[in-house]
Symmetry: C2
Subunit: 201 residues, 2 copies
């Protein structure tokens, strides 16, 4: 096995082990020593890959968001209209909930830290701004192809994003409060009604 | 001064003092002894009013939500149509941000606890369910008066609520990321376009 490959495997093992420990015991309650013990690496090995425990968390978050990005980009095949693509994206919602489900306490612990640390805050806010640009681009494409009526892309993107963030927050806080997959799909339909071409203008 | 009135004043002073200390130092870092010192009450006096520090926080949250409720009910004067009332409600957004602004770390600390404690979870989820019922009622009224087209009131209410919660979350996390007051107003306009009578059906 090449040295580089083995390094990659160790890195992945540290991330997997840390993810499980953080979710089970919380971020603060999980020490680097515990992560090393579970991953079967020395502290030297750990710090070779990650400058700190916070970096493990940031990379975990990044891996999760990359998975989401890949799925979102797949939906933008270009074969369907923008409204159809947006509706198709809502079908991801149940899987996102399943993926995120057990991690709510961890997300919240992390957001709490974000409120105190500029580095963590940056890592938290950057994805929102990226998704905002992504949706604004879709809306521009929708206007260009004639499927959406002329709206302010920035505002419409923030409307979509607020809906998505709020839905995710409420679904994680109160999983049995509603059929959140259905709310995503039908809510998006109502929302699209308001911005689709041929709408009330 | 009547004994009852003095008791009420002490209770209010404890709440005010605790609110300031929680916001400044965090919930966990603020002890009952510190609250007593700042409020000028004995521990006996404190526990006469509140069984625990958690009860102080829950009542703080309740006072804040009561203020919000009063404002929401004021908007339902019955003189305007439901779409007009919903648009008018978005004008509250800048004030809500100002009110909530410095308290984001505190909310997050509290939500983190909610994820671990059934009592706190209940206090957190109950307002969402109440607002859901409030908006569903408005939507039913809108359909009855003919200003909204026939939609599922539960779904439309969850759409409105997700939008509101997401907007609040994003505005608190990233205050300078957008003009959130404008997003509220224009986003609600787009959203209403999708459910107003005379829409695309």
């Amino acid at each position: 096995m090449a040295v580089q490959q083995r390094g990659e495997e160790t890195r992945t093992r540290i991330l997997d082990v840390a993810q499980e420990a953080f979710a089970r015991y919380g971020y603060d309650a999980t020490g680097v020593a515990e992560i090393c013990r579970r991953a079967g690496v020395t502290k030297g090995g750990f710090y070779h890959h990650f400058p700190s425990k916070q970096d493990v968390f940031l990379e975990m978050l990044e891996r999760w968001l990359e998975g989401l990005d890949r799925q979102l980009l797949l939906m933008r095949s270009g074969e369907e209209s923008v409204p159809e693509e947006l509706l198709a994206m809502t079908e991801m919602v149940p899987a996102v909930f399943q993926e995120a489900g057990g991690r709510l306490p961890l997300f919240l612990e992390f957001l709490t830290k974000a409120a105190h640390s500029p580095v963590v805050w940056q890592a938290t806010v950057a994805p929102f701004r990226k998704y905002h640009a992504f949706f604004a681009g879709m809306i521009r494409d929708g206007m260009a192809e004639g499927s959406l009526r002329p709206v302010d892309p920035d505002l419409a993107s923030n409307l979509l994003l607020s809906f998505a963030v709020g839905l995710l927050a409420m679904g994680l806080l109160d999983p049995y409060g509603a059929n959140w997959g259905l709310v995503a799909q039908e809510g998006m339909g109502m929302l699209l009604n308001g911005i689709e071409a041929g709408g009330p203008g």
